[in-house]
């Protein structure tokens, strides 16, 4: 069934989800004060930024895996 092959290929895009899943994990890298953003230390705005990243990547994956269906 060629259709199944295409679907499996599209599902490959789901590996991109690893990016937002792993982004909040390297604690040692973002446990710092500088650079600040609007007076907020890096530690905090980086993690909140991960939320934006998660939305962007998940939306992208959703579009790529469902395209053409």
């Amino acid at each position: 069934m060629p259709e199944l092959g295409v679907r499996a290929q599209r599902r490959g895009w789901r590996w991109l989800l690893l990016i937002p899943i792993l982004a909040p994990l390297p604690v040692g890298l973002y446990n710092r004060l500088e650079p600040q953003l609007w007076g907020v230390p890096f530690f905090y705005w980086y993690q909140i930024g991960c939320a934006v990243l998660a939305m962007a990547v998940t939306t992208l994956v959703h579009r790529l895996t469902r395209a053409g269906r």
């Binding site: 989800l17 446990n31 907020v40 909140i48 939320a51 998660a54 939305m55």
Partner: protein, 551 residues
């Protein structure tokens, strides 16, 4: 007669909360199905919620009042370490894209309303399902209780004392749920988010007008350097990384084992709704991040908690810095944010009981009508149980029990989450692992002492969820989340016991699910339900396949 600021606050709070509860009663008529007398309708809203309603409902049931109160309180107390809730919440969204879509599909194909039913079908064991159900109920009960603690904190700040205001609020909310089922919290979530949006805008404006975040963080930095505690600070202390990381990971996994998070997912109309929601849910993380940083803002403003109860920090901040009417709105937002998850949790616990205990052991072959009736009464019981719990015991107990609840529910992950991908595990191995994990988790929690800022031990046992490795005789200043250690022990037992049981040729359960079930969608013909015309309150199209056809 002059009206004081307090009276305005109480008035706005009471009127808004009252209006919300009236809305909850009206919810039974919202998108009225032919009959509310089945668990499909009462317990999972007919599996008919579209993108928007699902988003509001999931936001309402996962981002609880306890989160909005306890997270900034923790940040106020210890700084960076309290921020763990934000990365944990963010991680759940992409994970939900992978995990919850499979759960939704298999539940849709088989008509499950809880994850315990899934384990019964997957591993062919009603004993295992009952064990998962009981674990889920035990973990959920204290979670309901802490919601009421949050509501109590708001009332305490308002100066409303005594037991009757809380009792009345819970009473009315319980009857809403009793009558309307999942539709009540779904409709309330929408109204709540209007208040929440207002609150977020008010916070942004307020911070901008009072010196911005730099002032707040400067003030907090000074306080954290001045205090004696080595654990607090604007950044995680040396050796604090591991504890932070494991707590984030463990909490993120636990979300997929908590019964109430699943209820909202199962109420979604189709797979794409679940996926789109996974993409959109981090919007709530932005609100949570902002509210969490209020802890620092409160320090900068010199807010002192009422009666030393840290949970009152945020309500007290609202009182001190907002105009009275605006504080009243904020209190109402928190109050409704407490009643929504309490409702969803009691529904989830009731469904677990009805489907995996009542129908399996007490009344096999119960009619859908009977199931709905049992669930209604059990949900009422769950809420009142929680109420009695916090009225009779020190609220501190419910917070400790909630801590334990997270560790407990995590032990169902092998059966409930890993089971979505494999049926390799033996049913008795899963049961043994679950019990082993529970025992390990409880034992480790027992070992955790609570320390005062100066390092003195305040309480010898159940003092937190992170176990200092030094406690295990290791030469380290790090701590690890006990839930994750217990889960590791649990998994090791599951794998070892599965190998052993297979070697002994003990019959495994029969897997009633089919690989295709994990990709099942609401429509099989290829045309999906209207996506973009997903208006908020319109009646959805209800495809009559899978669980939808069962009616």
């Amino acid at each position: 007669m002059t009206v004081t600021a307090r009276q305005v606050e109480i008035g706005v709070f009471a009127v808004l909360l009252g209006a919300m509860l009236v809305l909850g009663f009206a919810a039974a008529r919202w998108r009225r199905p032919p009959s509310l007398h089945s668990l499909e309708e009462w317990g999972v809203g007919g599996r008919a919620f579209g993108n928007w309603v699902t988003w509001f409902l999931l936001g309402g049931s996962m981002y609880t009042a306890y989160t909005y109160i306890a997270v900034p309180a923790l940040v106020y107390g210890v700084g960076a370490a309290g921020f763990f809730a934000v990365p944990f919440a963010i991680m759940t969204a992409p994970l939900a894209y992978l995990i919850s879509t499979r759960t939704w599909s298999v539940s849709h194909a088989h008509g499950f309303v809880t994850s315990a039913e899934f384990t019964r079908a997957r591993f062919g064991s009603r004993g295992l399902a009952a064990l998962v159900a009981v674990t889920g109920i035990v973990a959920t009960m204290p979670y309901i209780a802490v919601q009421l603690v949050a509501l109590q904190a708001v009332m305490k700040t308002l100066g409303v004392t005594g037991e009757w205001p809380l009792t009345v609020a819970v009473l009315v909310a319980s009857f809403c749920t009793f009558r309307s089922g999942l539709r009540a919290p779904a409709l309330l979530s929408i109204a709540k988010d209007v208040l929440l949006l207002w609150l977020v805008l008010a916070i942004v404006l307020l911070v901008a007008m009072s010196g911005g975040w730099s002032a707040a963080f400067r003030g907090s930095g000074e306080r954290f350097t001045a205090d004696v505690s080595p654990a607090s600070g604007l950044l995680l202390p040396e050796g604090g990384w591991l504890g932070y990381l494991t707590l984030v990971l463990g909490s993120a996994l636990a979300i997929f084992a908590y019964p109430h998070a699943l209820t909202g997912i199962l109420a979604a109309r189709d797979r794409a709704t679940v996926q789109r929601n996974a993409a959109a849910l981090p919007v709530y993380c932005l609100a949570l991040g902002l509210v969490a940083m209020l802890g620092f803002f409160a320090i900068g403003q010199g807010v002192r908690p009422v009666g030393g109860d840290l949970n009152t920090v945020v309500p007290q901040l609202f009182h001190e810095v907002f105009p009275a009417w605006c504080a009243g709105i904020a209190y109402a937002a928190v109050g409704v944010a407490a009643l929504i998850p309490a409702a969803v949790m009691s529904i989830a616990a009731a469904n677990l009981f009805t489907r995996s205990i009542y129908r399996e052991y007490l009344r096999p072959g119960a009619s859908p009508r009977e199931e709905a009736r049992v669930s209604r009464w059990v949900s009422l019981l769950a809420k009142f149980g929680a109420l009695v719990f916090i009225l009779l015991l020190d609220p501190q107990f419910s917070i400790e029990f909630q801590l334990i609840g997270g560790v407990i529910v995590l032990q169902t992950v092998p059966a409930v989450v890993l089971g979505l991908w494999t049926n390799w595990f033996h049913r008795w191995a899963l049961a043994t692992g679950l019990l082993g994990g529970l025992a390990t988790g409880l034992f480790l929690l027992y070992l955790v002492p609570q320390r005062a800022p100066d390092g003195r031990i305040v309480k010898a046992h159940f003092g937190g969820s992170n176990l200092p490795l030094a406690q295990l005789g290791l030469d380290s200043r790090s701590a690890v989340y006990t839930g994750l250690i217990a889960l590791a022990v649990n998994l090791a037992i599951v794998v070892a016991a599965t190998l052993l049981l297979r070697a002994l040729r003990v019959p495994a359960g029969v897997d009633a699910t089919h690989p295709a079930d994990y990709y099942a969608d609401a429509t099989t013909t290829g045309t999906t339900a209207p996506r973009h015309s997903d208006t908020l309150l319109d009646g959805p199209s209800r495809p009559r396949v899978g669980a939808h056809a069962a009616r």
